[in-house]
Protein backbone atom coordinates (compact mmCIF):
# COMPACT_ATOMS: atom_id res chain seq x y z
CA UNK A 1 0.00 0.00 0.00
CA UNK A 2 2.92 2.34 0.77
CA UNK A 3 4.32 1.66 -2.74
CA UNK A 4 0.97 2.51 -4.38
CA UNK A 5 0.86 5.71 -2.35
CA UNK A 6 4.43 6.58 -3.37
CA UNK A 7 3.56 6.14 -7.06
CA UNK A 8 0.54 8.44 -6.84
CA UNK A 9 2.58 11.09 -5.01
CA UNK A 10 5.26 10.94 -7.71
CA UNK A 11 2.61 11.42 -10.38
CA UNK A 12 1.22 14.40 -8.54
CA UNK A 13 4.69 15.89 -8.03
CA UNK A 14 5.60 15.66 -11.71
CA UNK A 15 2.35 17.41 -12.61
CA UNK A 16 3.27 20.17 -10.13
CA UNK A 17 6.63 20.82 -11.75
CA UNK A 18 5.07 20.69 -15.22
CA UNK A 19 2.45 23.20 -14.19
CA UNK A 20 5.06 25.41 -12.51
CA UNK A 21 6.26 26.33 -15.97
CA UNK A 22 2.83 27.69 -16.87
CA UNK A 23 2.86 31.10 -18.47
CA UNK A 24 -0.40 32.34 -17.04
CA UNK A 25 0.56 34.46 -14.06
CA UNK A 26 -1.09 33.59 -10.81
CA UNK A 27 -2.48 30.27 -11.98
CA UNK A 28 -2.95 27.92 -9.10
CA UNK A 29 -1.86 24.35 -9.25
CA UNK A 30 -3.87 22.00 -7.14
CA UNK A 31 -2.22 19.06 -5.48
CA UNK A 32 -3.40 15.84 -3.98
CA UNK A 33 -6.92 15.73 -5.26
CA UNK A 34 -7.13 12.22 -3.82
CA UNK A 35 -6.60 12.28 -0.08
CA UNK A 36 -3.47 10.24 0.53
CA UNK A 37 -2.36 9.96 4.12
CA UNK A 38 1.40 9.73 4.41
CA UNK A 39 3.73 10.80 7.29
CA UNK A 40 6.40 13.39 6.43
CA UNK A 41 10.00 12.29 6.19
CA UNK A 42 12.06 14.67 8.38
CA UNK A 43 14.28 17.15 6.55
CA UNK A 44 15.52 20.75 6.75
CA UNK A 45 12.38 21.89 5.02
CA UNK A 46 9.68 19.34 5.42
CA UNK A 47 8.26 19.31 1.97
CA UNK A 48 6.26 16.16 1.65
CA UNK A 49 6.36 16.46 -2.13
CA UNK A 50 10.10 16.56 -2.45
CA UNK A 51 10.59 13.90 0.21
CA UNK A 52 8.34 11.54 -1.71
CA UNK A 53 9.74 12.42 -5.11
CA UNK A 54 13.29 11.38 -4.17
CA UNK A 55 13.47 7.64 -3.75
CA UNK A 56 16.03 7.90 -0.95
CA UNK A 57 13.62 10.07 1.03
CA UNK A 58 10.84 7.54 0.95
CA UNK A 59 10.28 5.43 3.99
CA UNK A 60 7.90 2.63 4.65
CA UNK A 61 5.95 4.59 7.25
CA UNK A 62 3.07 6.81 6.28
CA UNK A 63 3.53 10.47 4.99
CA UNK A 64 0.98 13.26 5.68
CA UNK A 65 0.04 15.36 2.68
CA UNK A 66 -1.64 18.76 3.10
CA UNK A 67 -3.89 20.00 0.34
CA UNK A 68 -1.97 22.96 -0.87
CA UNK A 69 -2.21 25.11 -3.95
CA UNK A 70 0.79 26.71 -5.63
CA UNK A 71 1.13 29.74 -7.85
CA UNK A 72 3.62 29.81 -10.68
CA UNK A 73 5.61 32.28 -8.60
CA UNK A 74 6.21 29.60 -5.95
CA UNK A 75 3.90 30.89 -3.30
CA UNK A 76 1.52 28.39 -1.73
CA UNK A 77 -1.82 28.72 -0.01
CA UNK A 78 -3.49 26.09 2.11
CA UNK A 79 -7.06 26.28 3.32
CA UNK A 80 -8.49 25.33 6.69
CA UNK A 81 -11.68 26.46 8.39
CA UNK A 82 -12.22 29.37 6.05
CA UNK A 83 -8.69 30.76 6.54
CA UNK A 84 -5.96 30.54 3.94
CA UNK A 85 -2.32 30.36 5.01
CA UNK A 86 0.26 31.68 2.55
CA UNK A 87 3.94 30.86 2.28
CA UNK A 88 6.69 30.22 -0.24
CA UNK A 89 7.75 26.90 -1.65
CA UNK A 90 10.91 24.98 -0.90
CA UNK A 91 12.10 25.75 -4.39
CA UNK A 92 11.67 29.47 -3.69
CA UNK A 93 13.37 29.45 -0.28
CA UNK A 94 16.33 27.55 -1.73
CA UNK A 95 16.56 29.96 -4.64
CA UNK A 96 16.49 32.97 -2.29
CA UNK A 97 19.15 31.77 0.08
CA UNK A 98 19.31 32.78 3.73
CA UNK A 99 16.47 35.17 4.49
CA UNK A 100 17.49 38.07 6.69
CA UNK A 101 14.29 40.11 6.77
CA UNK A 102 10.56 39.59 6.12
CA UNK A 103 8.50 42.64 5.29
CA UNK A 104 4.83 41.77 5.74
CA UNK A 105 1.58 43.77 5.55
CA UNK A 106 -0.52 45.03 8.43
CA UNK A 107 -3.45 43.14 9.86
CA UNK A 108 -6.60 44.01 7.96
CA UNK A 109 -4.86 44.94 4.71
CA UNK A 110 -7.08 44.18 1.76
CA UNK A 111 -5.10 42.62 -1.05
CA UNK A 112 -5.95 41.98 -4.66
CA UNK A 113 -4.66 38.92 -6.48
CA UNK A 114 -1.12 39.55 -7.67
CA UNK A 115 -0.72 42.68 -5.53
CA UNK A 116 2.67 43.03 -4.00
CA UNK A 117 2.10 42.45 -0.27
CA UNK A 118 5.63 42.46 1.06
CA UNK A 119 9.17 41.39 0.41
CA UNK A 120 11.74 38.91 1.58
CA UNK A 121 15.28 40.14 1.81
CA UNK A 122 17.90 37.48 1.51
CA UNK A 123 21.60 37.45 0.85
CA UNK A 124 20.61 37.16 -2.78
CA UNK A 125 18.23 40.10 -3.22
CA UNK A 126 15.06 41.80 -2.05
CA UNK A 127 12.29 39.70 -3.61
CA UNK A 128 8.72 40.78 -3.76
CA UNK A 129 5.81 38.70 -2.54
CA UNK A 130 2.58 38.60 -4.54
CA UNK A 131 -0.84 37.87 -3.18
CA UNK A 132 -2.32 34.65 -4.57
CA UNK A 133 -5.87 35.83 -3.83
CA UNK A 134 -8.12 38.86 -3.49
CA UNK A 135 -8.73 38.69 0.26
CA UNK A 136 -8.06 40.38 3.59
CA UNK A 137 -5.04 39.72 5.81
CA UNK A 138 -6.11 38.27 9.16
CA UNK A 139 -2.77 37.39 10.68
CA UNK A 140 0.94 37.77 10.04
CA UNK A 141 3.62 35.44 11.32
CA UNK A 142 5.23 37.58 14.04
CA UNK A 143 7.85 34.89 14.72
CA UNK A 144 9.54 35.93 11.48
CA UNK A 145 10.46 39.32 12.97
CA UNK A 146 12.90 37.65 15.35
CA UNK A 147 13.75 34.65 13.20
CA UNK A 148 13.37 35.30 9.47
CA UNK A 149 15.35 32.10 8.84
CA UNK A 150 12.21 30.13 9.77
CA UNK A 151 11.15 30.57 6.17
CA UNK A 152 14.24 28.64 5.08
CA UNK A 153 14.04 26.06 7.83
CA UNK A 154 10.33 25.33 7.69
CA UNK A 155 8.71 26.93 4.66
CA UNK A 156 5.57 24.77 4.84
CA UNK A 157 5.08 24.79 8.60
CA UNK A 158 6.51 27.40 11.01
CA UNK A 159 7.75 29.65 8.19
CA UNK A 160 4.28 30.62 6.92
CA UNK A 161 3.96 34.33 6.02
CA UNK A 162 0.38 35.54 6.30
CA UNK A 163 -3.14 34.26 6.78
CA UNK A 164 -6.09 35.52 4.76
CA UNK A 165 -9.84 35.19 4.85
CA UNK A 166 -11.31 32.82 2.32
CA UNK A 167 -14.55 34.60 1.72
CA UNK A 168 -15.04 33.18 -1.71
CA UNK A 169 -14.23 29.54 -2.32
CA UNK A 170 -14.25 30.29 -6.05
CA UNK A 171 -11.14 32.43 -5.50
CA UNK A 172 -9.18 29.42 -4.37
CA UNK A 173 -10.44 27.20 -7.14
CA UNK A 174 -9.67 29.63 -9.99
Amino acid sequence: MALRAARSVRAVTSSLWAAAGAETPGSLVSLAATPVRLRAHPGPCSSPFLAAAGSRGLCTSVLRLTVRKFTDKHEWISAENGIGTVGISNFAQEALGDIVYCSLPEFGTKLNKQDEFGALESVKAASELYSPLTEEVTEINVALAEDPGLVNKSCYEDGWLIKMTLSNRQNLMS
Partner: protein, 404 residues
Protein backbone atom coordinates in the same frame (compact mmCIF):
# COMPACT_ATOMS: atom_id res chain seq x y z
CA UNK B 1 29.87 61.55 -22.53
CA UNK B 2 28.86 59.81 -25.72
CA UNK B 3 31.00 58.40 -28.44
CA UNK B 4 31.03 60.88 -31.28
CA UNK B 5 30.79 59.13 -34.59
CA UNK B 6 31.08 60.64 -38.07
CA UNK B 7 28.01 61.29 -40.15
CA UNK B 8 25.65 61.43 -37.23
CA UNK B 9 21.96 61.60 -37.66
CA UNK B 10 19.21 61.81 -35.16
CA UNK B 11 16.21 59.58 -35.16
CA UNK B 12 13.36 59.57 -32.77
CA UNK B 13 11.33 56.47 -32.17
CA UNK B 14 7.74 56.77 -31.23
CA UNK B 15 6.56 55.40 -27.92
CA UNK B 16 4.10 52.58 -27.44
CA UNK B 17 5.45 50.38 -30.18
CA UNK B 18 3.35 51.40 -33.13
CA UNK B 19 4.18 48.85 -35.80
CA UNK B 20 5.99 51.09 -38.24
CA UNK B 21 8.61 49.55 -40.41
CA UNK B 22 10.29 52.74 -41.51
CA UNK B 23 10.94 55.91 -39.67
CA UNK B 24 11.73 59.06 -41.58
CA UNK B 25 14.80 60.92 -40.48
CA UNK B 26 16.18 64.28 -41.20
CA UNK B 27 19.79 65.21 -40.57
CA UNK B 28 19.58 68.62 -42.01
CA UNK B 29 22.06 67.87 -44.74
CA UNK B 30 20.69 64.56 -45.95
CA UNK B 31 17.69 62.44 -45.11
CA UNK B 32 17.73 58.74 -44.74
CA UNK B 33 15.38 55.98 -43.81
CA UNK B 34 16.40 53.79 -40.94
CA UNK B 35 14.62 50.45 -40.87
CA UNK B 36 12.82 50.03 -37.60
CA UNK B 37 12.37 46.58 -36.22
CA UNK B 38 8.84 45.65 -35.29
CA UNK B 39 10.04 43.26 -32.67
CA UNK B 40 10.94 44.13 -29.13
CA UNK B 41 9.57 47.62 -29.09
CA UNK B 42 10.35 49.59 -26.05
CA UNK B 43 8.01 52.09 -24.51
CA UNK B 44 10.82 54.54 -24.69
CA UNK B 45 11.40 57.59 -26.77
CA UNK B 46 15.03 58.46 -27.15
CA UNK B 47 17.42 60.42 -29.22
CA UNK B 48 19.96 58.13 -30.69
CA UNK B 49 23.16 58.94 -32.44
CA UNK B 50 23.93 56.34 -35.08
CA UNK B 51 26.41 56.32 -37.91
CA UNK B 52 24.84 56.84 -41.30
CA UNK B 53 26.43 53.60 -42.34
CA UNK B 54 23.36 52.49 -40.43
CA UNK B 55 22.84 50.13 -37.65
CA UNK B 56 19.47 48.58 -38.19
CA UNK B 57 18.16 49.24 -34.78
CA UNK B 58 19.57 50.38 -31.55
CA UNK B 59 19.31 47.45 -29.32
CA UNK B 60 20.52 44.28 -30.93
CA UNK B 61 21.70 42.69 -27.71
CA UNK B 62 20.98 45.35 -25.15
CA UNK B 63 21.03 49.00 -24.24
CA UNK B 64 23.37 51.30 -22.40
CA UNK B 65 21.67 54.27 -20.75
CA UNK B 66 23.12 57.16 -18.82
CA UNK B 67 21.14 59.60 -16.74
CA UNK B 68 21.45 63.35 -17.28
CA UNK B 69 20.19 63.91 -13.73
CA UNK B 70 22.11 63.87 -10.45
CA UNK B 71 18.99 63.62 -8.36
CA UNK B 72 18.83 60.36 -6.40
CA UNK B 73 15.03 60.16 -6.39
CA UNK B 74 14.78 60.67 -10.15
CA UNK B 75 17.45 58.08 -10.79
CA UNK B 76 15.91 55.52 -8.46
CA UNK B 77 12.61 56.15 -10.26
CA UNK B 78 14.28 55.26 -13.57
CA UNK B 79 15.30 51.94 -12.08
CA UNK B 80 11.74 51.28 -10.92
CA UNK B 81 10.32 52.29 -14.26
CA UNK B 82 12.62 50.08 -16.32
CA UNK B 83 12.06 47.19 -13.92
CA UNK B 84 8.27 47.54 -14.10
CA UNK B 85 7.75 48.38 -17.75
CA UNK B 86 10.44 47.10 -20.01
CA UNK B 87 10.68 43.71 -21.65
CA UNK B 88 14.21 42.56 -20.94
CA UNK B 89 14.02 39.22 -22.74
CA UNK B 90 17.17 39.12 -24.87
CA UNK B 91 17.64 42.84 -24.18
CA UNK B 92 19.53 43.46 -20.97
CA UNK B 93 20.16 47.07 -19.99
CA UNK B 94 23.05 48.82 -18.30
CA UNK B 95 22.17 52.09 -16.57
CA UNK B 96 24.92 54.52 -15.52
CA UNK B 97 24.16 57.25 -13.01
CA UNK B 98 25.75 59.56 -10.48
CA UNK B 99 24.21 61.63 -7.72
CA UNK B 100 24.83 64.78 -5.76
CA UNK B 101 25.72 64.03 -2.10
CA UNK B 102 23.20 61.53 -0.74
CA UNK B 103 23.06 58.70 1.73
CA UNK B 104 21.15 55.72 0.37
CA UNK B 105 19.84 53.10 2.77
CA UNK B 106 18.62 49.62 1.88
CA UNK B 107 14.96 48.73 1.76
CA UNK B 108 14.71 47.28 5.24
CA UNK B 109 17.18 49.47 7.06
CA UNK B 110 16.89 51.95 9.90
CA UNK B 111 18.28 55.40 9.02
CA UNK B 112 18.72 56.27 12.70
CA UNK B 113 21.02 53.28 13.03
CA UNK B 114 22.91 53.88 9.83
CA UNK B 115 23.67 57.56 9.54
CA UNK B 116 23.72 60.97 11.21
CA UNK B 117 20.41 62.36 10.03
CA UNK B 118 20.83 65.76 11.66
CA UNK B 119 24.33 66.31 10.33
CA UNK B 120 23.08 65.44 6.87
CA UNK B 121 20.26 67.94 7.21
CA UNK B 122 22.74 70.64 8.21
CA UNK B 123 24.94 69.91 5.21
CA UNK B 124 22.14 69.52 2.70
CA UNK B 125 22.93 65.85 2.12
CA UNK B 126 19.85 63.97 1.02
CA UNK B 127 18.57 60.69 2.43
CA UNK B 128 16.95 58.08 0.19
CA UNK B 129 15.66 54.56 0.69
CA UNK B 130 16.07 52.29 -2.29
CA UNK B 131 13.87 49.30 -3.14
CA UNK B 132 16.68 46.79 -3.26
CA UNK B 133 18.12 45.18 -0.15
CA UNK B 134 21.62 45.55 1.24
CA UNK B 135 23.39 48.18 3.27
CA UNK B 136 23.94 51.93 3.45
CA UNK B 137 26.14 53.81 1.01
CA UNK B 138 27.23 57.37 0.41
CA UNK B 139 26.89 58.80 -3.09
CA UNK B 140 28.44 61.87 -4.58
CA UNK B 141 29.72 62.85 -8.00
CA UNK B 142 32.90 60.85 -7.38
CA UNK B 143 30.89 57.63 -7.23
CA UNK B 144 29.48 55.77 -10.22
CA UNK B 145 26.32 53.73 -9.91
CA UNK B 146 25.80 50.84 -12.30
CA UNK B 147 22.51 49.01 -12.67
CA UNK B 148 22.35 45.75 -14.62
CA UNK B 149 18.80 44.94 -15.70
CA UNK B 150 18.04 41.39 -16.86
CA UNK B 151 15.24 38.87 -16.81
CA UNK B 152 14.96 36.88 -13.60
CA UNK B 153 16.56 33.85 -15.24
CA UNK B 154 19.59 35.81 -16.43
CA UNK B 155 20.20 37.42 -13.04
CA UNK B 156 23.87 36.88 -12.26
CA UNK B 157 25.72 39.29 -9.99
CA UNK B 158 29.13 37.67 -10.29
CA UNK B 159 29.01 37.86 -14.07
CA UNK B 160 28.30 41.58 -13.82
CA UNK B 161 31.12 42.16 -11.35
CA UNK B 162 33.59 40.26 -13.52
CA UNK B 163 32.58 42.54 -16.36
CA UNK B 164 33.36 45.58 -14.19
CA UNK B 165 36.73 44.10 -13.22
CA UNK B 166 37.60 43.53 -16.87
CA UNK B 167 36.64 47.12 -17.62
CA UNK B 168 38.85 48.41 -14.79
CA UNK B 169 41.78 46.31 -15.94
CA UNK B 170 41.31 47.49 -19.50
CA UNK B 171 42.23 50.96 -18.24
CA UNK B 172 44.79 49.88 -15.67
CA UNK B 173 45.99 46.27 -16.17
CA UNK B 174 48.03 46.27 -12.95
CA UNK B 175 45.02 47.01 -10.78
CA UNK B 176 44.57 44.48 -7.97
CA UNK B 177 40.81 44.16 -7.76
CA UNK B 178 38.71 41.13 -6.89
CA UNK B 179 35.10 40.27 -6.16
CA UNK B 180 34.28 38.73 -2.78
CA UNK B 181 31.57 36.22 -1.99
CA UNK B 182 29.55 39.10 -0.56
CA UNK B 183 29.69 40.64 -4.03
CA UNK B 184 31.89 43.53 -2.92
CA UNK B 185 34.84 44.63 -5.02
CA UNK B 186 38.04 44.90 -3.04
CA UNK B 187 41.13 46.85 -4.02
CA UNK B 188 44.44 45.38 -2.90
CA UNK B 189 42.57 42.75 -0.96
CA UNK B 190 41.32 45.12 1.72
CA UNK B 191 39.69 48.31 0.49
CA UNK B 192 36.09 48.21 -0.60
CA UNK B 193 35.53 50.12 -3.82
CA UNK B 194 32.12 48.69 -4.64
CA UNK B 195 29.06 47.33 -2.84
CA UNK B 196 26.13 45.48 -4.35
CA UNK B 197 22.38 45.27 -3.86
CA UNK B 198 19.58 43.72 -5.87
CA UNK B 199 15.91 43.38 -6.42
CA UNK B 200 14.02 40.48 -7.95
CA UNK B 201 10.49 41.02 -9.25
CA UNK B 202 7.93 38.97 -11.15
CA UNK B 203 9.88 38.47 -14.35
CA UNK B 204 12.73 40.93 -14.14
CA UNK B 205 15.61 41.58 -11.80
CA UNK B 206 18.25 44.20 -11.29
CA UNK B 207 21.62 44.23 -9.69
CA UNK B 208 23.15 47.60 -8.90
CA UNK B 209 26.50 48.48 -7.47
CA UNK B 210 28.58 51.51 -6.60
CA UNK B 211 32.11 52.27 -7.72
CA UNK B 212 34.27 54.67 -5.71
CA UNK B 213 36.39 56.75 -8.03
CA UNK B 214 36.87 60.04 -6.26
CA UNK B 215 34.37 60.34 -3.42
CA UNK B 216 34.71 62.82 -0.58
CA UNK B 217 35.65 60.21 2.00
CA UNK B 218 35.73 62.71 4.87
CA UNK B 219 32.08 63.50 4.28
CA UNK B 220 31.36 59.80 3.79
CA UNK B 221 32.85 58.76 7.11
CA UNK B 222 31.21 61.56 9.09
CA UNK B 223 27.66 61.03 7.84
CA UNK B 224 27.76 57.23 7.92
CA UNK B 225 28.33 57.29 11.65
CA UNK B 226 25.20 57.14 13.74
CA UNK B 227 25.25 59.19 16.96
CA UNK B 228 22.02 57.60 18.22
CA UNK B 229 22.33 55.40 21.26
CA UNK B 230 20.20 52.62 22.61
CA UNK B 231 18.46 51.55 19.41
CA UNK B 232 17.12 48.01 19.37
CA UNK B 233 15.96 46.90 15.96
CA UNK B 234 15.74 43.91 13.66
CA UNK B 235 16.39 46.04 10.59
CA UNK B 236 19.07 44.74 8.27
CA UNK B 237 22.38 46.15 9.47
CA UNK B 238 25.22 47.45 7.30
CA UNK B 239 28.64 45.85 7.37
CA UNK B 240 31.13 48.72 7.74
CA UNK B 241 34.22 48.47 5.55
CA UNK B 242 37.43 50.32 4.90
CA UNK B 243 37.05 52.16 1.62
CA UNK B 244 39.40 53.73 -0.88
CA UNK B 245 39.03 55.77 -4.04
CA UNK B 246 40.34 54.32 -7.27
CA UNK B 247 41.78 57.70 -8.15
CA UNK B 248 44.18 57.39 -5.21
CA UNK B 249 45.72 54.39 -6.91
CA UNK B 250 45.90 55.86 -10.36
CA UNK B 251 44.86 59.31 -11.45
CA UNK B 252 43.72 58.08 -14.86
CA UNK B 253 40.80 56.27 -13.19
CA UNK B 254 38.30 59.12 -13.36
CA UNK B 255 34.53 58.61 -13.44
CA UNK B 256 34.35 59.54 -17.10
CA UNK B 257 37.10 57.13 -18.16
CA UNK B 258 35.61 54.29 -16.12
CA UNK B 259 32.06 54.77 -17.37
CA UNK B 260 33.31 54.64 -20.93
CA UNK B 261 35.36 51.52 -20.26
CA UNK B 262 32.45 49.75 -18.53
CA UNK B 263 30.11 50.65 -21.38
CA UNK B 264 32.58 49.31 -23.93
CA UNK B 265 33.02 46.08 -22.00
CA UNK B 266 29.24 45.67 -21.63
CA UNK B 267 28.72 46.23 -25.34
CA UNK B 268 31.40 43.70 -26.22
CA UNK B 269 30.03 41.10 -23.83
CA UNK B 270 26.40 41.47 -24.91
CA UNK B 271 27.29 42.12 -28.56
CA UNK B 272 25.44 45.35 -28.56
CA UNK B 273 25.91 48.88 -29.76
CA UNK B 274 28.38 50.65 -27.51
CA UNK B 275 26.68 54.01 -27.89
CA UNK B 276 25.55 55.40 -24.58
CA UNK B 277 22.06 56.80 -24.73
CA UNK B 278 21.47 59.84 -22.54
CA UNK B 279 18.13 59.86 -20.81
CA UNK B 280 16.27 62.54 -18.92
CA UNK B 281 14.52 60.93 -15.94
CA UNK B 282 11.89 63.65 -15.76
CA UNK B 283 10.67 63.21 -19.32
CA UNK B 284 7.12 61.85 -19.12
CA UNK B 285 6.98 61.25 -22.86
CA UNK B 286 9.79 58.75 -22.50
CA UNK B 287 8.83 57.38 -19.09
CA UNK B 288 5.10 57.84 -18.51
CA UNK B 289 4.32 58.07 -14.83
CA UNK B 290 7.92 58.38 -13.71
CA UNK B 291 7.57 61.71 -11.91
CA UNK B 292 4.94 60.24 -9.64
CA UNK B 293 7.32 57.40 -8.81
CA UNK B 294 10.09 59.88 -8.04
CA UNK B 295 7.73 61.82 -5.76
CA UNK B 296 6.82 58.68 -3.86
CA UNK B 297 10.48 57.98 -3.18
CA UNK B 298 10.82 61.42 -1.57
CA UNK B 299 7.92 61.08 0.82
CA UNK B 300 8.48 60.86 4.55
CA UNK B 301 6.30 57.73 4.55
CA UNK B 302 8.72 55.90 2.27
CA UNK B 303 12.05 57.16 3.60
CA UNK B 304 11.30 57.06 7.34
CA UNK B 305 7.91 55.38 7.56
CA UNK B 306 9.19 52.13 6.05
CA UNK B 307 11.67 51.68 8.87
CA UNK B 308 11.11 48.33 10.58
CA UNK B 309 9.74 48.61 14.09
CA UNK B 310 12.39 49.60 16.63
CA UNK B 311 12.81 50.89 20.16
CA UNK B 312 15.11 53.43 21.76
CA UNK B 313 16.21 52.93 25.33
CA UNK B 314 18.65 55.47 26.65
CA UNK B 315 19.64 57.75 29.53
CA UNK B 316 19.97 61.46 29.12
CA UNK B 317 21.88 63.82 31.40
CA UNK B 318 19.93 66.77 32.68
CA UNK B 319 22.46 69.36 33.70
CA UNK B 320 20.86 72.66 34.52
CA UNK B 321 22.11 75.72 36.40
CA UNK B 322 20.37 74.36 39.49
CA UNK B 323 20.94 70.66 39.36
CA UNK B 324 22.29 67.56 37.70
CA UNK B 325 20.02 64.60 37.08
CA UNK B 326 19.56 61.72 34.76
CA UNK B 327 16.41 60.62 33.03
CA UNK B 328 15.63 57.41 31.26
CA UNK B 329 13.66 57.44 28.09
CA UNK B 330 12.08 54.57 26.21
CA UNK B 331 10.38 55.03 22.86
CA UNK B 332 8.76 52.44 20.60
CA UNK B 333 8.69 53.49 16.98
CA UNK B 334 6.52 51.84 14.35
CA UNK B 335 6.19 53.02 10.76
CA UNK B 336 8.39 55.95 11.77
CA UNK B 337 5.89 57.15 14.37
CA UNK B 338 6.03 57.04 18.16
CA UNK B 339 3.89 54.12 19.23
CA UNK B 340 4.69 54.43 22.89
CA UNK B 341 6.91 56.62 24.98
CA UNK B 342 8.06 56.45 28.59
CA UNK B 343 10.01 59.20 30.31
CA UNK B 344 11.43 58.36 33.67
CA UNK B 345 12.68 61.57 35.25
CA UNK B 346 13.92 61.88 38.84
CA UNK B 347 11.23 62.30 41.47
CA UNK B 348 9.90 65.82 41.79
CA UNK B 349 12.25 67.18 39.17
CA UNK B 350 9.23 68.01 37.09
CA UNK B 351 5.54 67.53 37.88
CA UNK B 352 4.34 64.14 36.66
CA UNK B 353 1.48 65.88 34.96
CA UNK B 354 3.92 67.67 32.65
CA UNK B 355 5.71 64.44 31.77
CA UNK B 356 2.40 62.77 31.02
CA UNK B 357 1.42 65.65 28.81
CA UNK B 358 4.67 65.35 26.86
CA UNK B 359 4.18 61.62 26.51
CA UNK B 360 0.63 62.00 25.24
CA UNK B 361 1.69 64.57 22.68
CA UNK B 362 4.51 62.41 21.37
CA UNK B 363 2.50 59.22 20.93
CA UNK B 364 1.33 59.10 17.34
CA UNK B 365 3.67 61.83 16.13
CA UNK B 366 6.51 61.31 13.68
CA UNK B 367 9.81 60.29 15.26
CA UNK B 368 11.40 63.35 13.82
CA UNK B 369 13.25 66.35 15.28
CA UNK B 370 11.27 68.83 13.23
CA UNK B 371 7.92 67.50 14.31
CA UNK B 372 9.09 67.14 17.92
CA UNK B 373 10.22 70.79 17.87
CA UNK B 374 6.78 71.94 16.78
CA UNK B 375 5.05 69.89 19.49
CA UNK B 376 7.48 70.98 22.17
CA UNK B 377 7.21 74.68 21.30
CA UNK B 378 3.45 74.44 21.51
CA UNK B 379 3.72 72.77 24.92
CA UNK B 380 6.33 75.24 26.21
CA UNK B 381 3.96 78.09 25.58
CA UNK B 382 1.62 76.62 28.17
CA UNK B 383 4.25 76.85 30.94
CA UNK B 384 5.64 80.38 30.93
CA UNK B 385 5.32 81.42 34.55
CA UNK B 386 7.87 79.69 36.74
CA UNK B 387 11.41 80.32 35.47
CA UNK B 388 13.00 77.27 37.05
CA UNK B 389 10.24 74.99 35.89
CA UNK B 390 10.37 76.49 32.45
CA UNK B 391 14.12 76.01 32.10
CA UNK B 392 13.92 72.38 33.33
CA UNK B 393 11.08 71.70 30.95
CA UNK B 394 12.98 73.30 28.10
CA UNK B 395 16.07 71.24 28.91
CA UNK B 396 14.09 68.00 29.02
CA UNK B 397 12.51 68.71 25.66
CA UNK B 398 15.81 69.59 24.04
CA UNK B 399 17.33 66.38 25.31
CA UNK B 400 14.43 64.29 24.06
CA UNK B 401 14.92 65.76 20.59
CA UNK B 402 18.52 64.55 20.47
CA UNK B 403 17.42 60.94 20.22
CA UNK B 404 15.57 61.63 16.97
Amino acid sequence: MRKKLPGLCTISLLPHCTPRRWQGVSTGSNSMLIPFSMKNCFQLLYILKVPTAGLKNTAKGGLILQSTSNNIYQNLAVEDWIHDHMNLEGKPILFLWRNSPTVVIGRHQNPWQECNINLMRERGIKLARRRSGGGTVYHDMGNINLTFFTTKTKYNRMENLKLVIRALKAVQPQLDVQATDRFDLLLEGQFKISGTASKIGRTAAYHHCTLLCNTDWISLSSVLKSPYQGIKSNATPSVPSLVKNLLENDDTLTCEVLMESIAAEYAAYHQTDSNIILINPTDETVFPGINKQAEELQTWEWIYGKTPKFSVNTSLNLLSEHSYSEMKIHVDVKNGRVEDCNIDAPDHWLPQEMLDKLRTRFVGSKFCQCEATVLINALLRTYPKDHELYSKWHLLCEKVKTIM
